[in-house]
């Protein structure tokens, strides 16, 4: 191999590496951006009465559509809203739904907590932590993610209750 050819190969390798790295960061940025869409006031008002106003980027649009079409039977409770508000929230959720690598999966029962990425991210949490009275449900993000309400799920702001 000539020196010239070798340097070309090297350049191609370098470009590929940079591109891969770039895509990785882009995917991460996409995930964290998705968590921080400023919430629609009505979304917080209606949905955060019972649970965290989950960032819309944590589910794909198809999942949000099913969730919003089934509010009268919402994971064991009646969460029905008037039709106009349901339409408004659905449109906003679908417009801001996840599009990154994670959100391509429609998790079982459209539960964020059953998505493969969610399970993987939480595999170090001891089984006993999940059943603590302060936690109760894996949907209770704020039990450990102290800044979840601000859409910040970074490791820096995790405090496991005891």
């Amino acid at each position: 191999m000539s020196a010239r050819l070798a340097s070309r190969w090297w350049l191609a390798f370098l470009c590929a590496s940079v591109a891969t790295l770039g895509m990785t960061f882009a995917a991460r940025a996409d995930d964290s951006r998705a968590s921080r869409v400023p919430p629609l006031p009505e979304y917080t008002q209606e949905c955060a009465s019972c649970h965290l106003a989950f960032p819309p980027g944590l589910l794909p649009a198809a999942s949000w559509r099913r969730v919003m079409d089934n509010l009268p039977r919402h994971y064991g409770t009646d969460a029905s809203l008037d039709p106009a508000l349901t339409r408004k929230l659905s449109a906003w959720l679908e417009a801001n739904a996840g599009t990154g690598k994670r959100a391509r999966e429609q998790p079982p029962e459209d539960r964020i907590t059953r998505a493969a990425w969610f399970v993987r991210e939480h595999d170090e949490v001891p089984a006993t932590t999940w059943t603590l009275p302060a936690v109760k449900s894996p949907a209770n993000c704020s039990a450990c993610h102290t800044r979840a309400e601000q859409g910040d799920f970074s490791e820096r702001h995790i405090r496991l209750p005891r």
């Binding site: 009465s49 649970h51 994971y75 409770t77 009646d78 809203l81 449900s137 209770n140």
Partner: protein, 134 residues
């Protein structure tokens, strides 16, 4: 302008000024009066308390999430999210917005009873809650 007209107008203006804030503060009582009128009977706080604490064929009672002492905060039974106190004496926002009250009665009665609550049931529960002191 006749003197009587002036007196009437003055009384009307004073009345409006006085009533303005009073109407807002009296909202829970007004809503209660509305439900009682719809029910065609006086509300019973005792019945309301019983209703609030009893399960009605399904898994949950009102108290499951709102607590047996609704002058204090409750906690959503499945998500663990804190729920602000339900008694107006402890939480001025409660029963101050008719549409909100109807929305929550519709949803929560469906969760607890599997049907909508009657006007009499709503009046009973509200009369108990309004009478609670912090």
């Amino acid at each position: 302008m006749k003197l009587s007209t002036i007196v009437q107008l003055t009384a009307l203006l004073a009345g409006t000024a006085l009533l303005g804030p009073a109407v807002q503060a009296a909202a829970p009582a007004e809503l209660l009066a509305g439900y009682s009128a719809q029910a065609g009977a006086a509300a019973s706080p005792q019945r309301g308390e019983q209703f609030f604490n009893a399960t009605q064929g399904k898994e949950w009672s009102c108290a499951t999430c709102h607590g047996t002492a609704p002058t204090q905060a409750g906690k959503h039974v499945s998500t663990g999210k804190p729920i602000g106190a339900l008694a107006p004496s402890a939480n001025a926002q409660r029963f101050s917005d008719a549409a909100k009250v109807e929305k929550w009665f519709r949803r929560n009665c469906n969760d607890v009873l599997g049907r909508e609550c009657s006007a009499a049931e709503k009046a009973d529960v509200m009369s108990w809650l309004i009478g609670l002191k912090p």
